[in-house]
Amino acid sequence: MKKIAVTSEGPSLDDQVDPRFGRAAGFVVVDLDTMETQYFDNGQSQVMAQGAGIQAAELIARAGVNCLLTGYVGPKAFQALSAAGIKIGQNLEGLTVREALERFKSGRVEMAQAANRGAGR
């Protein structure tokens, strides 16, 4: 898997993983081959009255992401991400973006089979 998105409170690898997906502050997207990083602000999803998770899924799908690392994902976002073929690693809050990526690269992140959170708006 080449392109990994990590929900993040800020644009750098040393920022904290944002536990939310749909209303995360933004996404740090890393190309594992080149180790180049790019930051996508998620403001557009945050202001939505409903469907923020779906909007966020569209955003990272457009960026060509294969895998998402985050804290929790609701069922609609999970459905959208899975349909787009994006693998999901959950429960990574409390780490920095860098630490979450290290854990992923060393094979210690299990890919989720189901959303770990109830429906939001």
């Binding site: 202001v47 009255a49 409903q50 959170r117 109830g118 429906a119 939001g120 708006r121």
Partner: protein, 292 residues
């Protein structure tokens, strides 16, 4: 961090009065009034506002009369009957506008604006029982649950910042959007019911809702002495669903007397009602997963 939401299904069962009393009894917590449509908790807690924010959500259509050709396409396409032709031209009724953007997208003259809506205000306040996060939706606005989520998020962040491990919420009535949002991420829903046909009927609907969203569910039967037969039926329902009944509270005008004084009932001299309420709180704290 644990989150408890007090809900009711039917309005008027005593949800807010009991939440106010629990706010008095709970040691260390952040309070949150999630009934943003008709909030009442502040009438008991008498908060001092420390922070005020605007809440914007969704959009509404507005026709620019100068650019409008009066072709009427917008009115014919609107599924919500929100556009009417008046003498001076076409106009959008903001109370009916759903914010769907169809008229904006299809107007041949591009005469329709789509501004964001300022739907309400939310506040972080201090009270004699601790911090309160609350809001007021402007009348007639859509209560989609988004403002409820904003309040919950604020309450959780405040709890984290102050090292507090309990968020206690006065939930929204009913079973729609705002209640669904109230229950999101909650560890326990306490349903306050009354032994009337409506009370039991609505309890069953709200129990179903909690089952649908897999929220742990417990019940308090308020005004139990109004109809012992109905109370027994509620108890049977709870037994069948394995829902703990945390208390049977008597119908007591004392609750209203406390309300008039801007107090919660446990702040009045101790009586049967407040004693039973204290036991209820002790049982809540003793529930598995909520032990502190």
């Amino acid at each position: 961090m644990r989150e408890i939401v007090i809900i009711s299904g039917k309005g008027g069962t005593g949800k807010t009065s009991l939440t106010g009393a629990f706010a008095h009894l709970a040691a260390n917590k952040i309070m949150c009034d999630l009934d943003v449509d008709a909030p009442d908790l502040h009438l008991l807690l008498r908060p001092t506002r420390e922070r005020e924010e605007e809440f914007h959500s969704g959009h509404e259509a507005r026709i620019d009369r100068e650019s409008c050709d009066r072709c009427g396409l917008c009115a014919s396409m609107c599924q919500f009957g929100a556009i009417r032709e008046e003498e001076e031209g076409f106009a959008v009724d903001s109370l009916r506008c759903e914010g769907c953007k169809v008229c904006v997208a299809f107007c041949p003259a591009e005469a329709i604006q789509f501004p964001e809506k300022h739907c309400g205000q939310w506040y972080v306040s201090s009270t004699r029982f601790g911090p309160l996060v609350h809001a007021q939706l402007f009348p007639g606005e859509e209560n989609s649950g988004r403002l409820v989520m904003v309040l919950k998020q604020q309450a959780r962040e405040l709890a984290k910042a102050r090292g507090v491990d309990l968020v206690l919420c006065d939930g929204a009535p009913g079973i729609g959007c705002p209640v669904i949002s109230s229950l999101s991420g909650a560890h326990l829903a306490v349903a306050v019911t009354e032994p009337t046909p409506s009370g039991r009927h609505d309890l069953e609907r709200v129990a179903d809702l909690c089952k649908h969203f897999q929220t742990v569910f417990a019940v308090i039967i308020n005004k139990h002495d109004l109809n012992p037969d109905e109370t027994a039926r509620i108890e049977a329902f709870c037994r069948d669903g394995s829902y703990p009944v945390l208390a049977h509270l008597p119908h007591d005008p004392l609750v209203t007397q406390a309300m008039i004084q801007g107090l919660v009932v446990t702040e009045l001299p101790e009586g049967d009602f407040s004693r039973e309420l204290r036991h209820a709180w002790a049982r809540i704290e003793a529930l598995p997963g909520l032990g502190r």
